[in-house]
Structure formats: C-alpha cells, structure tokens
C-alpha cells in the first residue's frame, strides 16, 4: 500500500493543519523514540492478530497524547492523526522486518482503531452504529 497516496487524501481544514502536524509528530515520537519504542515493540510482540494489536496500540497512543495535552488536543484531529500513525507503524513493521502486515490487515486494524477510540475515550457509539446501519444511498 502506498502510504503517500492515502496521506494525500487526508486533507484537513487549514485551521486544523498545525494541530494535526503536531499530534502526528508527537505520536511518531511516542512510537519511535528511544524511551518509548519498547512499548510499541511490546505491543507488537504480544499474542493476538496483527490488526488488533496495531489498531489497539495506536488508539492507546492517541489516548495517551490526549491525556498528556490535558484535553487541549483538538478533537477533530484525533482520527486523522490516528489513521496516519497506524499506516506509519504498519510501514515500519514491514520495512524493519519485525513482521509482515498485509493491506487487508491494515484495513482491519483501522476498524479496530475506530472501535478502540470509542472505547478509549469512553464515548457512546450508538449514534455512530445507527449511522452505519443505514443502507447507503445508491
């Protein structure tokens, strides 16, 4: 999967761009910095399928960043930043030889990520589920 292609489609309003960049940078730091990289490796080596581990792991990072910002992180950038971090992490795993995550697993991980974000933030997802259960317009 071409991350750049997906990344180019993440187009945020100008007023969110700065916050988005800062959250992604902070997330990358958590994922790859010397001090916290072990957490990511620990998450990846835990039992379970790649999609679940990846999705839950990124959701945890986002919740962590939100907590660290004392709730000042703009909520509009939560999913965009999480989405990009997930793809970056998958790309890292594939390129570093730590494992192999297929495109299908990335898609499943994105599903897990959304579920985990609702769970991690303690948000009521009934309205989301209702919207998803609607039949799509032709």
């Amino acid at each position: 999967m071409n991350i750049d292609e997906i990344q180019s489609k993440i187009q945020l309003p100008p007023e969110l761009q700065d916050a988005y960049t800062r959250v992604v940078a902070a997330g990358m730091k958590v994922l790859f910095s010397k001090q916290t990289h072990d957490l990511m490796l620990e998450q990846l080596s835990a039992p379970g399928d790649n999609a679940t581990k990846l999705g839950q792991g990124i959701a945890k990072v986002i919740v962590f960043l939100f907590n660290e910002s004392n709730g000042t992180m703009p909520q509009d950038v939560i999913v965009p930043a999480a989405m990009l971090l997930l793809m970056k992490a998958a790309d890292f795993v594939n390129k570093s030889g730590k494992g192999q995550i297929s495109d299908e697993e990335i898609g499943q991980a994105m599903e897990v990520l959304i579920d985990s974000l609702f769970e991690g933030f303690g948000a009521d997802r009934s309205e989301f589920d209702a919207a998803m259960s609607q039949e799509m317009p032709a």
Partner: protein, 256 residues
C-alpha cells in the same frame, strides 16, 4: 521497564467522557475521503462505507454529532436542501424572536418534493419519512419556496387548487407523455391556464408539461380552424461546384 515507559503505560488508560462521540465522529468526517481510499486499497467494505457516510456528513457540515447531516442522509439533494433550510430557518427564528411559533406548523410536503413528482428521486423512503417526522416537530412556519424547483413542487402539492382537487395530477405529471396529454384534454381552458401559471420553468418536468400544454393549445387552435404556421426547418442550400447548373447545361457538350 524504564520509568518513562512505565509512566506512559500507566497513561494508556481510558478517559471516560473526555471526548464525546461527536468529537470522534467529527474527526472521522474530516478524513472521509481518505477512509474510503484506504477501504478501497485494503478491500475493506466497512471502511469504504464509513468513508462514504462520514464523507457525506462532512460535506453537509456536521452539527452536533452527525446531527442534521444524519437526518438528511440518503435523501435527494432537493430534499436535503429543504430539510437543512428548515433547520436554518428554525435557528434564525429562534435567534430573532426568542420565542417559537406553535408546533406542527411545518407540514410534510410543504418544502419537500413528493417522490412522484420526480423533481428529486427519493432513494430511501424510510429515511425520508423519518426526516419528515422530525421536520413535523420543528417549530416554525412553513419555509417559503426558495428555488424554482421547490416552487413548482410546492405549487403542485399544495398551491394550486386544481392540483389539490385532483391528486392524481402528480402521478400523471410524473408519467408524462400520452397520459399527460390525455389528462389535459379533459380540462377547461381556465384550468389549463391555472396549471400553466403554477408551474415554474426550471424543472425538466415543468418544461415537459409546458411543452405538452403548448401542444394542447396548438391542437385546440387547430380544431377551431385557426391553424398556426408550423415552423419549418430549412437547411441552407449546399451548392455543389462540380454539378452542372441544370438539365440543359448538363446536356450541353463540354467545350462548346
């Protein structure tokens, strides 16, 4: 485990109620297109659906969680416009007067085209009826028709007395063609004029109706003996420079 890792691990806990569902869904709406693209690349139908749904909502502008966007999900563009303008009117009324008019003032159909009229194809009747049900609880007077299309729909559904007294007209208009001509042939001149004046000219159905009315007028005029000159399409004459100018010239031997 290093202290910082332990601290980070401790921080990876849920934060109950810190972010409302609205926040997450709004942020999803921001990346609707990317979500669809990711779903397409990874062959994940659920992601594609999420992207499509939140993308639709995002393009309408989120209000609340999915808010008004969810209420108009699955409706035609005309119905969406009517529903969203109704919400805007409510907000404006509330802001200006501070008091709400009597409930139930908005009649279903006043600002939303009937499916049979064909102005906006209703893709999900269930959702439309839900929205109409929600719209009926809005506290505002019926919104004035803003577009010619809405004006035509409003006139046909509630404006013209003839339409009110002849509910089959919507179906007839939707069918068009011979049925419409048959329908019109049974009407008086006054009824024809009333129908003509009640239809705006910006909708395809309206155009078709006006055309058929014109045909009916022409037919009646012909019956009365006042034959109207039929428009004749004449193509400009193309002169072939290599063709002889006439029979005689063509029969003449060359060089004479």
């Amino acid at each position: 485990m290093p202290p910082i890792v332990a601290a980070a691990a401790a921080a990876f806990t849920t934060v109950q109620g810190a972010v409302a569902a609205a926040g997450i869904m709004k942020s999803m709406a921001v990346v609707g297109t990317a979500m669809s693209a990711l779903g397409a690349v990874t062959k994940n139908e659920k992601l594609m659906k999420i992207g499509a749904v939140v993308g639709t909502v995002g393009s309408l502008g989120t209000m609340g969680a999915f808010g008004q966007g969810a209420k108009t999900l699955g409706m035609s563009s005309s119905a969406k416009a009517a529903a969203t303008s109704a919400a805007a009117n409510r907000a404006a009324t509330s802001a200006v007067t501070g008091a709400m008019p009597q409930p139930g003032a908005l009649r279903p159909g006043a600002g939303v085209l009937k499916p049979a009229f064909g102005g906006g194809a209703v893709q999900q009747p269930g959702l439309l009826s839900q929205t109409l049900q929600q719209a009926s609880t809005l506290n505002l007077p019926p919104p004035a028709p803003t577009t010619l299309l809405q004006k035509a729909g409003s006139a046909l559904s509630s404006g013209a007395n003839m339409i009110k007294e002849n509910p089959e007209v919507a179906m007839v208009l939707a069918q068009g063609g011979a049925e419409l001509a048959n329908y019109l042939s049974g009407k008086t001149d006054a009824e024809i004029r009333q129908l003509e004046s009640s239809i705006s000219a910006n909708d395809a159905n309206a155009q078709r109706t006006l055309f058929t009315i014109a045909e009916e007028k022409r037919r009646r005029a012909n019956i009365q003996g006042a034959y109207l000159p039929a428009p004749v399409q004449t193509a400009p004459v193309q002169v072939n420079p290599y063709q002889p100018t006439g029979i005689i010239a063509g029969a003449m031997p060359r060089g004479v």
